[in-house]
């Protein structure tokens, strides 16, 4: 489907018919603001059925009609048509083209048309449903409303999508269906109500049926009676009607007769009236003709006088024109004289001008030549000057360069001297530095030689320390061993002591436990001469383990008091001594006891001698056989003959071992002491070694520091000296470079100087040349000036000539023009004279004719006036005849009126009777459904006399009352 054309007329600002043909693709509408572009869009929406005037930017719908402008009337109607083509598929119509039109009139009435046929808006809506076309659809996007798609409510937006989805059609169908559904439901409800009612009624109907049957019986009877009565009434009525009819016919005949007579009379009147009118008209025509003829007469008179006047006027005009012609001819001849003189002047002036121009051209040529000469001279001079300038510039450049070179040379030699001085200084400094450096190197060697000694001393001290430390370690180890041994020996001794505890100890312990005193062990109390312990122990025997008590019995009691008590050897202090042999070898000599023991020991050791050696013992046994002799080493010879031989042990069990252990302990303690002493000694030594090491290290440090210092100093000096030497070398190189440069610059300076001199010479040459050229230039310039002046003069001359020529020409032209004008004027005037003469002739002739016509018209007026009086008389006689005839007609008409009144009264009566009959018929039809004519008055059981009829009437009345008493009866209930 395509949009083909839009036609508008009287729509908004488009007052004339406007047609827009649309193209495929994009059609753009452009133009300034306010020219009505948007009205085109409005027109499209309007034709598609826009109902809101506001949306079309108006107050009411009639506002879309063009409402006038300056010089234009408002339209009475607006019409827009929109034409689509290729519509078959999309719109589903048979037409190829579809045209929709909308019109609106000033009174606000809208009309729609589809292909020229009037239709409703709904039809147009239906046509475009779901095509995207429509006043509300998305196909038309108004100015400034684009974002309304976005800002409208989500539900409104949906409409666009629905249009696009093509569901609008379904929506309409759905609405229709819903409406139908509502109707159906309402119908159903109503039907249910009715049904209920009907069902209820059926019950009551059956009750009513009985009553109705009874009613019918009465009704049938009443019907029969009533029908009879009605028949009789009918017959009476019919009789009356017939009578009335005959009367009516008679009256009608009278009326007709009167009518006929009236007609005849009236015809006579009409004929008479025509005759009167004819005569009247003839008379009036004659009168009018008289008036016309008189008017004609007057008009002709006026025209004749007017024409005469006009002819006179024209004669005057002709005379004036002739005068003008004579004047113009005189002027023309004067102008011609002027022209002739001017032409002659002109020719002369032209010749002069040409002469002047030639002279001028010659002068110009001379000027050109002079100017060329001058320009050449100037050019030559310029070139010379330029060359001189360049020579001078070059000379100056060369000299400047030479000067610069000399300056450079000077600078360089100064620099060279400075550097040379510096080099000398540096060299001496370098020498100094070298001497200092050698001194330093020597000191360095010295310090370096000191260093190993210090280091050796440190190493020695370290070695000592290490040795002392290892010694200390071994000594400490020994000490700890000795201490361990000592502890072992002590423990062993204790164990021995425990083991060798004899009866004496046990007894003493028991005794002391009982809180008793006055007892002591024998052995510990003895003081044995050293080396004789074994011998004493052997000598004492078991007594050795005995206890010396103050009160022997008490002790014994306490020992024997309980079961399992200890036993022991008890010796009382009160033991009395026996006399002792005075033997030097006697054992008692070798032992001492405590106080009071002086007697006891010799007693206990009586008869026992102790000697040093076995030999002495053998010798003594010979001397004293009664005595038992004991050797210090334990060998003994008993007096009873036995001998103890071998190495004897202490007689007391464990005593010897105890002794040994004690010795071992002592030895161990001794060794511990020794070891401690050695450890202390080594510790002292380590201390010493450490001090020695410390001092050695300090010394080494000092030496090293001194060495480092010296070396640093040496290095610094060395770097300094190296720097100096490289500096010197650099300066020497620079010196060489400078010397080279100086040589080059000097050479260049010499070259440039010579060059400058050469250029100066050239310049001087050129200067003289320039002077010559300047002179040439001045002469040529003077020449040019002179030529120029000449040219100016010539030009002035020429322009004067030209002015003169122009003046002549300007005078000549107006003279010519004037002459031409005058000629034309003469011709024009002549033409006018001819025309005026002709017109004057015409006017004269016309005046004559008009006078003749006037006379004729006067004559005719008199003739007609004479014939008018006869006509007037005839008209009056005819008028009298007409009045008589009219009176006759009035008489006949009165008769007719009377008959008509009578007839109307009869008709009224008739209709009354007819109405009665009709009433009767209606009642019968209503009550018994029987036509009136079928009721019968005669027959079986019917009364004959009037009395019987009255009785019958009474009966019917009674029956009717009875029926009325029954009330309403549902007769349908029977069926």
């Amino acid at each position: 489907m395509k949009l083909k054309r839009l036609e508008m007329e009287g729509f908004k600002s488009f007052c004339d018919r406007t047609v827009l043909d649309f193209h495929e693709g994009i059609t753009a509408i452009v133009g300034p603001n306010g020219t009505g572009k948007s009205n085109i869009l409005d027109s499209i929406r309007w034709v598609l059925g826009e109902q809101s005037a506001k949306a079309l930017r108006g107050q009411e719908m009639a506002d879309v009609i063009f409402h006038g402008a300056a010089g234009r009337k408002a339209s009475g109607m607006a019409e827009v048509s929109l034409i689509f083509s290729d519509c078959e598929t999309i719109l589903g119509t048979d037409y190829h083209e579809v045209q929709i039109t909308r019109r609106v009139f000033r009174d606000g009435v809208s009309e729609y048309a589809l292909n020229g046929t009037n239709c409703r808006l709904k039809d147009i809506h239906r046509l475009f449903l779901d095509t995207g076309i429509g006043r509300m659809a998305y196909s038309i996007m108004e100015q400034g409303k684009i974002d309304q798609i976005l800002s409208s409510r989500p539900e409104d937006r949906r409409a666009i999508f629905e249009e696009a989805a093509g569901v609008m059609r379904f929506k309409v169908q759905k609405r229709e269906a819903e409406r139908k559904l509502e109707g159906t439901e309402a119908n159903l409800l109503r039907l249910a109500d009715i049904l209920r009612e009907v069902r209820r009624q059926i019950g009551s109907l059956q009750r009513q049926a009985g009553k109705a049957r009874r009613h019918r019986e009465i009704f049938e009877k009443l019907k029969r009676l009533d029908l009879a009565l009605s028949a009789r009434e009918r017959d009476q009525l019919l009789l009356k009607i017939d009578d009335l009819s005959s009367h009516q016919a008679k009256t009608k005949a009278d009326l007709d007769r009167a009518h006929a007579a009236e007609m005849v009379c009236e015809q006579g009147v009409r004929a008479q009236r025509i005759k009167v009118e004819e005569t009247d008209r003839a008379w009036r025509d004659a009168e009018r003709e008289v008036v016309a003829a008189q008017a004609e007469e007057v008009r002709c008179g006026e025209r004749a006088s007017m024409q005469t006047q006009r002819a006179d006027e024209l004669g005057g005009t002709i005379e004036r024109a002739r005068g003008e012609i004579a004047l113009a001819e005189r002027q023309t001849s004067a102008q011609e004289d002027l022209i002739r003189s001017l032409t002659a002047e002109m020719e002369k002036v032209t010749v002069d001008f040409q002469q002047a121009e030639r002279v001028c051209l010659e002068a110009q040529e001379r000027v050109v030549v002079a100017r060329r000469n001058r320009e050449e001279a100037v050019g030559k001079m310029e070139s010379i000057r330029a060359r001189r300038e360049s020579a001078r510039r070059e000379a100056e450049g060369a000299r400047a360069r030479a000067n610069a070179e000399e300056v450079t040379t000077r600078q360089r030699s100064e620099a060279l001297d400075r550097i040379r001085e510096e080099v000398r200084e540096k060299e001496s400094e370098e020498q100094r530095e070298k001497a200092g450096l050698e001194e330093l190197a020597r000191r360095l060697q010295e310090t370096e030689s000191l260093l190993p000694e210090a280091r050796q001393r440190g190493q020695r001290a370290e070695e000592d320390l290490r040795r002392a430390e290892s010694e200390l370690a071994s000594a400490e180890k020994r000490l700890s061993e000795a201490e361990a041994e000592k502890t072992l020996a002590h423990s062993r001794e204790d164990a021995m002591r425990e083991r060798s505890a004899g009866e004496a100890e046990v007894c003493l312990r028991v005794w002391t436990e009982k809180g008793q005193t006055g007892a002591e062990a024998i052995w510990p109390a003895l003081k044995v001469r050293p080396g004789y312990e074994t011998a004493i122990a052997l000598a004492l025997g078991p007594v050795l383990d005995g206890v010396l008590v103050d009160d022997l019995e008490r002790m014994a009691e306490s020992l024997e008091a309980g079961e399992g008590g200890p036993s022991g050897i008890l010796i009382s202090r009160q033991t009395s001594g026996t006399p002792v042999a005075d033997w030097s070898e006697g054992a008692w000599n070798f032992v001492e006891g405590g106080a009071g023991w002086e007697l006891l020991l010799p007693h206990l050791l009586a008869g026992i001698c102790i000697v040093d050696t076995w030999e002495e013992a053998k010798g003594l046994s010979q001397i004293r056989p009664e005595a038992t002799i004991i050797c210090r080493d334990g060998r003994m010879i008993s007096s009873r003959g036995w001998q103890r031989r071998g190495r004897a042990r202490s007689t007391r069990p464990g005593l010897h071992e105890l002794e040994t252990a004690r010795i071992t302990t002592e030895r161990a303690e001794q060794s511990v002491r020794e070891a401690s002493a050695r450890v202390a000694q080594w510790r002292d030594q380590i201390q010493l070694a450490r001090v020695e090491l410390e001092s050695a290290r300090t010394q080494e440090q000092t030496v090293r520091q001194a060495f480092d210092e010296v070396r640093r100093e040496h290095d610094r000096r060395e770097a300094l000296s190296r720097g100096l030497s490289s500096d010197v070398a650099r300066r020497v190189a620079e010196m060489a470079r400078l010397e080279q440069e100086i040589a080059v610059h000097q050479k260049i300076a010499v070259e440039k100087n010579s060059e400058a001199e050469m250029h100066l010479a050239v310049e001087q040459n050129l200067e003289s040349e320039a002077r010559q050229a300047e002179e040439v230039r001045q002469t040529s310039e003077a020449e040019e000036t002179r030529c120029n002046d000449l040219l100016t003069e010539r030009r002035v001359d020429r322009s004067a000539q030209q002015q003169r020529r122009d003046l002549c020409a300007s005078q000549l032209n107006p003279a010519e023009t004037r002459r031409k004008e005058l000629g034309e004027l003469v011709l024009k005037r002549r033409d006018e004279i001819a025309a005026d003469t002709a017109r004057m002739e015409g006017a004269r002739m016309e005046a004559q004719a008009s006078a003749q016509a006037q006379a004729a018209a006067g004559k005719r007026a008199q003739e007609i006036e004479a014939s008018t009086s006869g006509l007037k008389q005839a008209r009056e006689t005819e008028g009298n005849l007409l009045t008589q005839k009219e009176e006759e007609v009035v008489r006949w008409r009165q008769d007719g009126e009377k008959a008509k009144d009578q007839l109307a009264a009869l008709a009224l009566k008739n209709s009354q009777l007819d109405h009665q009959r009709q009433m009767l018929a209606d009642r019968l039809q209503r009550e018994y459904a029987t036509p009136l004519m079928e009721a019968k008055a005669e027959g079986e059981g019917m009364p004959v006399s009037d009395e019987d009829w009255a009785k019958l009437e009474e009966e019917a009345k009674a029956l009717r009352e009875k029926m009325e008493e029954m009330g309403p009866v549902n007769t349908e209930a029977i069926s």
Binding site: V30, I40, I44, T131, L150, R157, A164, F170, L195
Partner: protein
């Protein structure tokens, strides 16, 4: 009376039948409508997204049904996110962005259901130069499907037109139409001025 009763009963039966038929019809219409609508809606959504991206040179946009409402009656929400911006409610977009978004939506609908013609009144007014170029390019793509009648002041839009009508006001309040026909293909009459 009994005859009447019988008649009424038949009528009731008929009416009940008719009601059932109508209800069935409405159900069918609803079903069809929903199917059609959802199909179109999905197409429009896809098309809208791509056109939006094209017009904005990036970004994201979609349409969706208002949640919790039936697809037969429910409203439609639009979400747009121009490139490099936070996703915005459409009321927060600038004027030009709004116009472009609306245009994208409009054209998306056209692409799904082309209307035979389309009238755009100064749609390009809020657009800048580059957006106008994109606008014109997209419009030209739709020329195959439908006719465009554009009212414009924009020269770039004018150059894309096949037919130009100029509206002038000779007298105040009276419009006059001039047509300028541009021929692009054969170049011979560059433009012919005709009094319309």
């Amino acid at each position: 009376m009994e005859g009447r009763l019988k008649f009424l009963e038949t009528e009731e039966k008929d009416l009940t039948g008719a009601k059932a038929q109508l209800e069935e019809a409405i159900r069918k219409i609803n079903q069809t409508t929903r199917l059609l609508f959802e199909e179109t809606f999905d197409k429009v959504r896809v098309s809208f997204g791509s056109l939006f991206g094209e017009l904005f040179g990036g970004g994201r946009a979609t349409v969706k049904m208002v949640e919790g409402e039936d697809s037969l009656e429910g409203g439609i929400d639009i979400e747009a996110q121009p490139p490099g911006k936070q996703p915005k409610n459409i009321s927060q977009l600038s004027g030009g962005e709004k116009a472009m978004t609306a245009l994208a939506l409009l054209l998306a609908i056209y692409s799904v259901k082309p209307s035979p013609f389309c009238v755009l009144d100064e749609m390009d007014a809020p657009l800048d130069e580059s957006n106008t170029v994109r606008f014109v390019q997209i419009i030209e793509r739709f020329v195959e499907k439908s006719q465009f009648l554009v009212i414009t002041h924009n020269k770039r839009t004018m150059t894309s037109a096949d037919l130009l009508y100029g509206v002038t006001a000779i007298d105040p309040g009276v419009s006059k139409m001039m047509s300028v026909k541009l021929t692009r293909d054969d170049e011979t009459p560059l433009f012919a001025q005709v009094e319309a």
